[in-house]
């Protein structure tokens, strides 16, 4: 027996690939550009968004019949803000250095278009279980791209992964650096993330021609 019905499974699997929030819907770009210079920050950001969007979608879905539609944006904002503050406090308590790296971007999860977008487009019209799956799926789709971008940017830009040197020591000239390799400073700056995301979009669309919009 499958754990999830095919329809439910698609709620999670679709946003991972063919309906990815970043590469297809082009939402949540700002944080994808800003915090992906290090893989660790990308992973933490991905987990935070999974938490906020998964629970937020359930809460909004449970309240969907009692929220007056005129004030629904305010209600959604309060729900996101509450969850984001929880994330922020947890990070400050248990990973202070990391929360300093992420800085304002944890707080800015509130303005992440993916979250409000899923509340509006899905949670307001579907039950809590489906909304939970949809939230997890979209957040994972966002997280996967973040982690891919973070992986390449940290590897090429700093020669490390999760802060651990993998290509050798650039100062002592060991490993790859002994044959003249140098870190790519371009990868550290945010425009590089835009180009990496662009390349992912390019690869995805050339593999699946159905995703290409008509000109």
């Amino acid at each position: 027996m499958a754990l999830l019905s095919k329809k439910d499974a698609n709620l999670i699997l679709d946003p991972l690939a063919d309906n990815n929030p970043i590469t297809i819907q082009v939402l949540g770009i700002c944080s994808a550009l800003a915090i992906t210079a290090e893989l660790q920050a990308s992973v933490v950001m991905a987990i935070s968004v999974v938490f906020v969007l998964g629970i937020g979608n359930v809460v909004i879905s449970l309240m969907r019949n009692i929220i007056p539609s005129k004030v629904r944006i305010i209600v959604q904002l309060i729900v996101v803000a509450t969850l984001v503050i929880i994330v922020d406090q947890v990070l400050k308590a248990f990973a202070y250095e990391l929360s300093k790296t992420l800085g304002a971007f944890v707080g800015l999860i509130i303005t992440n278009c993916i979250i409000m977008g899923r509340f509006e487009a899905f949670a307001l019209g579907n039950g809590p279980w489906k909304s939970f799956l949809d939230g997890i799926g979209n957040a994972l789709g966002y997280g996967v791209i973040l982690i891919i971008v973070g992986f390449f940017r940290e590897l090429l830009g700093s020669g490390t992964l999760f802060g651990i040197p993998v290509l050798g020591d650039p100062i002592a000239k060991t490993g790859l650096y002994s044959i003249g390799y140098e870190n790519n400073g371009f990868m550290i700056i945010p425009p590089a993330a835009l180009i990496v995301v662009g390349i992912i979009i390019w690869i995805q669309r050339s593999r699946n021609k159905a995703l290409i919009e008509e000109a």
Binding site: G180, Y181, E182, N184, F186, I189, I195, G198
Partner: protein, 421 residues
């Protein structure tokens, strides 16, 4: 059966196959194909893309040769001291200079062409179109606008990036928004700034010798000015050296004299736009004059970090750094520049204007030509749009005010209409 026949038979064999574009590119490089167009009427002209590209390359060859000799001259002068009574034949055009220049500059050319053309071939085979000649000029420009000691693998990475992201993603030759050669340079600059700026990279072996007893310095003129060392700069270089190009800098951009000749050649052959060149020169002069005016008016104190570059005589900006090279060979790129005549004036003027502005206000990197041209590349379509719209509006106005006389064939209604216009 001659060689030519054999090639034509091979061509038939490859027709429709994946490798056809790769074969055709090499084939038409040396031989004219044996087919003629049959349908419709065509413009018969000799200046096709290959001819245009070759003309620009011809205009670049003097810069390349000069760059080769200059690479050797700068190195030996930095090591052994500058000759007291400089004579071109004795100190510049020598076998030593040529040999050192050749082994440092030619690998740059080979890597630039090798990597760039390889990518062009791969994309042509994947997409199934003919290999376009667009890379021929880019491949020659790239070695001329990088420092002489740029590591070859960095150049290869940058060329791959520039050709794929700067050109192929937009659809290949003729579709790119940004000048590919400048995209390559911009990538190098932001990715490996230690190899692209400072006072060590412009002379061969400058980086290796840094920090040792044999350290040599090859500060560029703009570098001296950015640090406020005007006297030291004038003591080392005089105006004719700046103009003829016996100064440190990127490989092929130092000789304003040869660039001027190349520019005249391109204007004479109608390959490059004289409007862009003239307006870019005017733009840089205007910006230089404004800065000179600020200094003359005493609005800026001598200890300001902008003072050194601001007090530099406005016309001298044209003979140092890459400004002249950028204006003649890069700003005039027909693909990325403005297409309308009025647009070319605006586009060129702003390139010169912004180049000098970036030079002065960014002392950490006193060379803004490539940034200015890339910026204006982005704005060129907007400029063209407003020029075309302005023209449409003007003609609409003229149409509105015009009295349209009825033709004899029109009836009474047309006559009445004419009166009311």
């Amino acid at each position: 059966m001659g060689m030519k026949e054999k090639l034509h038979q091979l061509k038939l064999k490859y027709q429709g196959k994946k490798m056809a574009p790769a074969f055709n590119a090499i084939h038409t490089f040396l031989y004219a194909p044996n087919e003629t167009t049959h349908s419709g009427s065509h413009v018969r002209a000799v200046d096709d893309l290959k001819r245009t590209m070759n003309t620009v390359i011809m205009a670049l060859v003097p810069c390349l040769l000069f760059g080769i000799f200059n690479a050797g001259y700068q190195h030996y002068s930095a090591v052994n001291g500058f000759p007291a009574d400089f004579s071109i034949m004795e100190h510049f055009i020598t076998w030593d200079n040529f040999w050192l220049g050749a082994i440092t500059v030619l690998p740059l050319v080979v890597v630039s062409y090798g990597v760039g053309l390889l990518i062009e071939f791969i994309f042509a085979v994947i997409k199934g179109h003919e290999v376009e000649e667009g890379y021929l000029v880019t491949g020659m420009l790239v070695p001329l606008i990088v420092p002489v000691d740029t590591p070859l693998w960095m150049l290869a990475v940058a060329v791959a990036f520039g050709v794929v992201i700067g050109k192929e993603v937009f659809g290949g030759t003729g579709m790119n928004i940004l000048n590919p050669a400048l995209t390559i340079r911009a990538f190098l600059f932001f990715a490996y700034p230690t190899w692209m700026s400072g006072d060590k990279v412009w002379v061969h072996e400058g980086v290796q010798r840094a920090g040792t007893a044999d350290a040599i310095s090859g500060e560029t003129i703009l570098g001296y000015l950015a640090q406020g060392n005007s006297e030291a700069m004038y003591a080392k270089y005089d105006l004719s050296e700046m103009f003829f190009g016996f100064i440190p800098g990127s490989v092929g951009e130092t000789s304003t004299f040869l660039i001027l000749l190349g520019g005249l050649f391109l204007v004479f052959t109608k390959i490059a736009s004289w409007r862009i060149m003239v307006s870019a020169v005017a733009g840089s002069l205007v910006m230089g004059l404004i800065f000179n005016g600020i200094v003359d008016a005493g609005w800026i104190p001598e200890y300001s970090k902008f003072y050194g570059l601001m007090q530099f005589d406005f016309w001298k900006h044209l003979i140092v750094g890459g400004l002249a090279f950028g204006i003649v060979y890069m700003a005039t790129d027909p693909v990325t520049g403005s297409q309308t005549n009025k647009g070319k004036w605006i586009y060129g003027f702003l390139i010169g204007f912004i180049s000098v502005m970036i030079r002065v206000f960014n002392p950490g990197y006193p060379e803004g030509v490539f940034l200015a041209i890339l910026l204006m590349n982005v704005f060129a379509p907007t400029i063209d749009h407003y020029v075309v719209q302005g023209n449409v509006r003007r003609r609409m106005k003229r149409l509105k005010n015009a009295t349209i006389l009825p033709k004899p064939s029109d009836g009474k209604t047309a006559e009445l209409k004419a009166e009311t216009v």
